[in-house]
Symmetry: C2
Subunit: 139 residues, 2 copies
Amino acid sequence: MPDILEDADRHCAKTGARLTPLRRRVLELVARSGAPVKAYDLLSQIDRSSTSAKPPTVYRALDFLIEAGLVHRVEALNAFVACPQAGHGHAAVLYVCESCANVTEVQGARPGQENKPPGFTVKRSVIEHYGLCVDCPKP
Amino acid sequence: MPDILEDADRHCAKTGARLTPLRRRVLELVARSGAPVKAYDLLSQIDRSSTSAKPPTVYRALDFLIEAGLVHRVEALNAFVACPQAGHGHAAVLYVCESCANVTEVQGARPGQENKPPGFTVKRSVIEHYGLCVDCPKP
DNA sequence: CCTTAAGGTGTTACGTTATTACATCCGCTC
DNA sequence: GAGCGGATGTAATAACGTAACACCTTAAGG
């Protein structure tokens, strides 16, 4: 797969977003873990390198990365995953395996809008499916 | 609109779920507020009547109500709304107005499964759309 | 009647997640 | 080098959620 970090560099160069060392490091940590990562886990991993990171450090970096479309927040898990395709950020559908924690992201196809209430303007959607991926045994 | 509490009574009588006074009271509080309610807000409202409610009290009641399909959790808000139709619980699509906080629930039409990864078995879906309802001014 | 078991609630304590507010620093422009 | 804006450091605390255990009621079975 294409390198997420290089992808992010290119994407930020193009959009003017400032991918600082700290933000890049947080993205790297999120990307390395194949699964959703908790903010405080990131925190303790950063901790090991720098002096002693505090919550706002990592939350600010995550806010930036989400805004830049490089990371998704998994709402029902209070966790974060790297977006495999920089910039597609805000239109993702996530399939989360409850057994192995693997997350698959599907782009496009923003469903549910057909039945939407009349006159409602959608700005942001949270679409997360939980279940079992093809590799995990069905109980 | 049909009375949510009576609806809940009927639904629980049919399914054998035990809608105790405490649980009924929590449902009432959630239903009265037209908007998503926070667990700790419920807590302080219960507080006023009974001696002094603690977090597990309200979280246990909410767990029951969600399980019974009477309440939905709004994942991206850490909040809760009453389901207008008892029992349709687990298949809801929510439209949340970010201006007036009103929530409209649409049943059926569980989208997104067309593009799902091969072999993935969906057990539960979180589908929440955020934006502006028809009554709120567009910025 | 007494015992037992199950489910619900009360209570304490704690763990986890997230934000506010303010200080500091770095790079840029004038 | 003064001033500015964005990024980061730091302390404190708010907001959200759960574990563990005690107690009580209710229903079933002897």
